[in-house]
Symmetry: C2
Subunit: 214 residues, 2 copies
């Protein structure tokens, strides 16, 4: 099932940025928000925004737009962000520490409850309030914590070995920041994150500007 | 021009992962690689891979696939990764430090030549060999370095103020890791990075598995 095709990947990727704008609009006291307003904020086409939002099952009202509270709830429910997801962080280096303190995650149900590292100088300390344990204790701790998600921010060289242990401990979803393509059983989901992907976008836009393309 | 539409965004986002596989194939001594092999590695459809690669202008040979060296060159040229891009990093915290040591960047022409931070305890030190300067010296240093790209990994609260200074100093491309929508002149490109976007994908896959969708 991990290999199943998820349709509408670009739409799903855009939903968090919509949610951010809708939340701000709610904080500003708005009851309704239109697809056109969201589109303008993000330099997208209104039709695109409406199509993306439709995958969450919500329907806007002509002239008024979407009711803000219902729209937030629909997106959060579609993404599963209305449930708490206990997660473990593997690798308490700079990237892991940055993720453990990333303010947006608190809105999205992602609860990093423990970090693991092989560096003895980090073990026993905490990063943004998250306790750091020894990698040696990984299997027993993951079972005790009931975590379902593991976030991999460890060196690529040990990514597969640690993944095997995580799978044995019952982890079924991996958010992979290493550049290793992990081998996992069919029932384990892997989302691979590639930080160079956004850099590629930036470069292509720079190229287009240089060559005057539009 | 910053607001111009770039077509084929999902294709562009996939190119770095193709490049990674093609480079490994080259290191393994292969002369040719087929779209089908790349597709299998990444659990994509072969037709999708061939369509994505076509945007770089390269054409595969029937039965043989793509010549590895020419394919790498075509992708790198399309992305502008065959040129060195001097960049400055704004914010030498955990995320900034992680990016400054990100091994993939060295292949892609991204040369982080200086970092800036407002914390006096960081100024004068270096992160992964990149010297950290005071934010006070931003404008003069950016001009001296001839950097065109700025990577924003500073707290969101000061993102717009620092952006204004960067634009005055001649920066025309910003890779924005804060959650602020920056106001910039028309000629400045902004690529906003949202780390929750990949988490959204992971959650939707988890939901689909839970509900047995395919």
């Amino acid at each position: 099932m991990a290999k199943q095709k998820i349709s509408a990947v670009p739409s799903i990727r855009r939903l968090p940025s919509y949610l951010h704008i809708i939340r701000q609009s709610k904080e500003d006291g708005s009851e309704y928000i239109s697809g056109t307003v969201i589109a303008q904020e993000l330099h997208l086409e209104p039709i695109q925004v409406r199509k993306d939002l439709a995958i969450t099952g919500i329907v806007g009202k002509p002239k008024k737009g979407y009711p803000v509270i219902a729209l937030m709830a629909a997106i959060e429910h579609f993404l599963g962000w209305d449930e708490v997801q206990p997660a473990v962080l593997i690798g308490a280096g700079n990237l892991g520490t940055a993720l453990s303190g990333y303010p947006e995650f608190q809105y999205h149900g992602l609860q990093i409850c423990a970090a693991f590292d092989q560096d003895p100088s980090k073990v026993g300390k905490s990063i943004h309030g998250v306790p750091v344990f020894s990698l040696e204790t990984l299997k027993i701790q993951v079972k005790n914590l009931g975590a379902s998600i593991a976030i991999l921010t460890l060196p690529s060289s040990s990514a597969q070995e640690v993944t095997n242990k995580l799978v044995e401990a019952g982890i079924t979803a991996i958010w992979n920041f290493t550049n290793v393509k992990l081998n996992v059983p069919e029932n384990v989901i892997v989302q691979k994150e590639d930080l160079t992907s956004g850099y590629a976008m930036l470069c292509v836009m720079m190229n287009a500007r240089k060559h005057g393309a539009s």
